[in-house]
């Protein structure tokens, strides 16, 4: 006797539809479209600056990056001869930004450590507010402050530096003129980027896994021992990323640099001497009396600056995201 085994009938799976309602489709469509505005704006900036700067980029070629001279003159036939080279200003940008970083990074890291591990609750609140406020100050305020308040002090510091470290080339000066130097511009920029670096570092430091902190204490570490063994290795990525975000800001700063710096179109590594420049402030300086051909050159300079800051920011965000993620 054999009973047929019951045939298993697997019913066909009910079809699950997740077709959103019309209202949802519209909502999603609109939101998704608008979310691409960042992409649109960034690419429009690149396209238009390239289009308007194309004439210069074509006529100058690679010389636009490597050339030293920036002049529009007329030859004997009365024809315009334009030579545009950004190198002096590019180097100036890098020099000023490095000075800013050298000053700002240690100060910011110390402040971030102080805020995260040392400060009493009340002082911490006040200082965090102050640092946030610093980020909201307009750049022209930094320019005014840098010119009238910081410069007299910084000139004195520059004299001290020259006196004691003058045997190093970069701290030497050809003439004893210390005002409006890259050193002072770098100091102003450093004050401007301290809030960025501090807040990024603080965020990363505060995400240090508490179990590792407690483990270090349990092994008998002092607070400083704990910070050196746990917090700094953990937060190094965040500090680097934050510094690069600050670098991006320093690259693009215009008004504050223009206010304090004596812009001279010459490569200058002697940071205490009164000449220098950066691309952004050069654009403002040349804009006023720019001829048609020069406007194209300034657009191209803007494009170079845009690409430069974009690269720095991309790298910085990459580093910061990785540093923050690694802790979770």
């Amino acid at each position: 006797m054999s009973i047929d085994a019951p045939v298993k009938v697997i019913p066909e799976a009910r079809k699950i539809t997740t077709k959103p309602r019309v209202s949802d489709q519209i909502f999603r469509g609109v939101v998704s479209t608008f979310s691409f505005s960042a992409l649109l704006i960034l690419s429009l900036i690149a396209v238009f600056l390239f289009l308007k700067g194309f004439a210069t980029l074509k006529s100058q070629g690679l010389g636009f990056i490597t050339g030293f001279e920036w002049s529009v003159t007329q030859d004997e036939a009365g024809k315009e001869v334009a030579v545009f080279g950004l190198q002096a200003m590019l180097i100036g940008t890098v020099v000023i930004s490095i000075i800013a970083l050298v000053v700002a990074v240690p100060l910011s890291v110390l402040t971030a450590l102080f805020l995260t591990f040392y400060a009493p609750e009340r002082i911490k609140k006040v200082l965090v507010t102050l640092v946030d406020l610093m980020a909201a100050f307009p750049s022209i305020l930094y320019g005014l402050w840098g010119f009238f308040i910081l410069m007299p002090m910084a000139e004195y510091w520059a004299k001290l530096l020259q006196k004691w470290l003058g045997w190093i080339y970069i701290f030497d000066v050809p003439q004893a003129v210390y005002s409006r130097s890259p050193f002072i511009a770098g100091l102003v920029l450093s004050v401007m980027i301290i809030p960025i670096i501090t807040s990024v570092s603080r965020e990363v430091f505060s995400q240090t896994p508490p179990d590792r902190i407690q483990a270090a204490y349990a092994l008998g570490a002092t607070k400083w021992g704990m910070i050196r063994a746990v917090v700094l290795p953990f937060g190094a990525g965040g500090v680097v990323g934050g510094s690069m975000l600050g670098l991006g800001r320093a690259f693009g700063e215009t008004v504050a640099v223009y206010s304090v710096l004596n812009i001279v179109f010459r490569t200058n590594f002697q940071i205490l001497f009164t000449q220098g420049g950066n691309v952004a402030s050069m654009i403002i300086q040349k804009w006023g009396e720019a001829a048609q051909s020069e406007i194209s050159a300034l657009m191209a300079a803007g494009l170079v600056l845009f690409i430069l800051t974009l690269i720095v920011n991309f790298l910085a965000n990459f580093v910061v995201t990785r540093a923050v993620k690694s802790g979770r």
Partner: protein, 352 residues
């Protein structure tokens, strides 16, 4: 139970807390180092605030290290030194902030009078004595720019934030990346872009509208990032509750999520405005300079506070520089008010 509670409670001992003796030692070391600093400055050729400041910290490092070394050895010295060096960092940073605030207040207050905020510069030049003329036209111009920038950037920023938090589409990572990259666009590039794209290509000439567009580029990333943060703070339960009641996503977002994050979104807007209120470089390309009222945002230059400060600084005479300080004080007060408002709105949302 009662037996336990009736027992005299033992005060918790906190062996790590500073004992009165430790505190006395700290006070003594600070006092000693102040004396030593004054002595050194008086005895050697080193002079000035800088010398006082650093000598105090150096002598304090040394004197306190000796105290600590007696109590807890070389490890303790390093630890105490690290605490002081981080304190030094915090002190320098706050000195910079206070220096900026004090400079603005003390220099700006001298030129501030009723005329300064109720008149325009039509009848006066930058170089006239301070009582003549004012910056009302610039205040109104800046307000106009801010309104235009809000009209464009707040919808853009909040919708982008909604995409990142509510829809979480496939492009979310890319968009996040681009928004962060956009927050690094130099302000001068934003101005150049508007000039290249609009003034060189269309009959539109510099006006408040174009200035607002340039500022929008700078404001969108700030609004987006803050809005994203506050939308992430809205509890997921609320969204699920909305969907479970049978609402569509659109209804859930519009009637539940956004109202729940309302004060946070206002904070985002205010922070964005604070970011752009003092931007100068883009205005030089797109808005121009004007010395009287111009209420037409699409035609003609406008006066703005940052360009007044700029012109005053470039003017170089005592009167024009005084105007610059006073104008920046007005701007700073506005920024401070917005900053406080943003904080109070922000804490309101967190309390819920």
């Amino acid at each position: 139970m009662s037996a336990i509670s009736n027992k005299p409670s033992v005060a918790p001992t906190r062996p790590w807390a500073a004992s009165p003796r430790d505190r006395a030692m700290t006070a003594l070391s600070v006092a000693l180092s102040i004396c030593a600093t004054v002595l050194i400055v008086a005895a050697t050729p080193m002079k000035g605030k800088l010398a006082y400041f650093f000598l105090f910290f150096i002598t304090w490092f040394i004197i306190d290290s000796i105290f600590v070394a007696r109590k807890s050895g070389s490890k303790g010295v390093k630890d105490a030194l690290a605490a002081k060096v981080t304190l030094l960092g915090g002190v320098i940073v706050s000195m910079a902030v206070f220096s900026i605030l004090w400079a603005t207040l003390s220099n700006g207050i001298k030129g501030l009078n009723l005329n300064f905020v109720t008149q325009n510069m039509r009848e006066a030049s930058l170089f006239d004595p301070i009582g003549k003329g004012g910056i009302l036209h610039a205040i109104l111009g800046t307000l106009m720019l801010i309104v235009i920038a809000i009209i464009f950037s707040v919808p853009m920023g909040i919708l982008t934030a909604l995409y990142l938090t509510e829809i979480k589409g496939r492009a979310a990572g890319l968009i996040q990346f681009l928004v962060q990259a956009m927050s690094g666009v130099p302000s001068v590039v934003a101005g150049l872009f508007i000039y290249a794209a609009i003034i060189l290509n269309t009959p539109l000439r510099s006006s408040a509208f174009l200035g607002g567009l340039a500022l929008t580029i700078l404001m969108v990333p700030t609004v987006t990032r803050t809005a994203q943060e506050v939308l992430n703070l809205v509890p997921g339960d609320l969204r699920e509750a909305g969907l479970a009641m049978g609402a569509t996503q659109w209804k859930t977002v519009a009637l539940v999520v956004v109202p729940a994050a309302r004060s946070g979104l206002i904070t985002a807007t205010i922070l964005g405005v604070a970011r752009i209120a003092g931007e100068t470089a883009p205005l030089l390309f797109t808005v121009g300079v004007f010395d009287s009222y111009n209420f037409n945002p699409f035609k003609g230059d406008s006066g703005t506070i940052p360009t007044v400060v700029w012109a005053g600084l470039m003017g170089g005479t005592p009167e024009s520089i005084q105007r610059a300080w006073s104008a920046i004080l007005v701007l700073l007060i506005v920024v401070l008010i917005m900053f406080v408002a943003a904080r109070s709105f922000g804490s309101k949302q967190q309390k819920r």
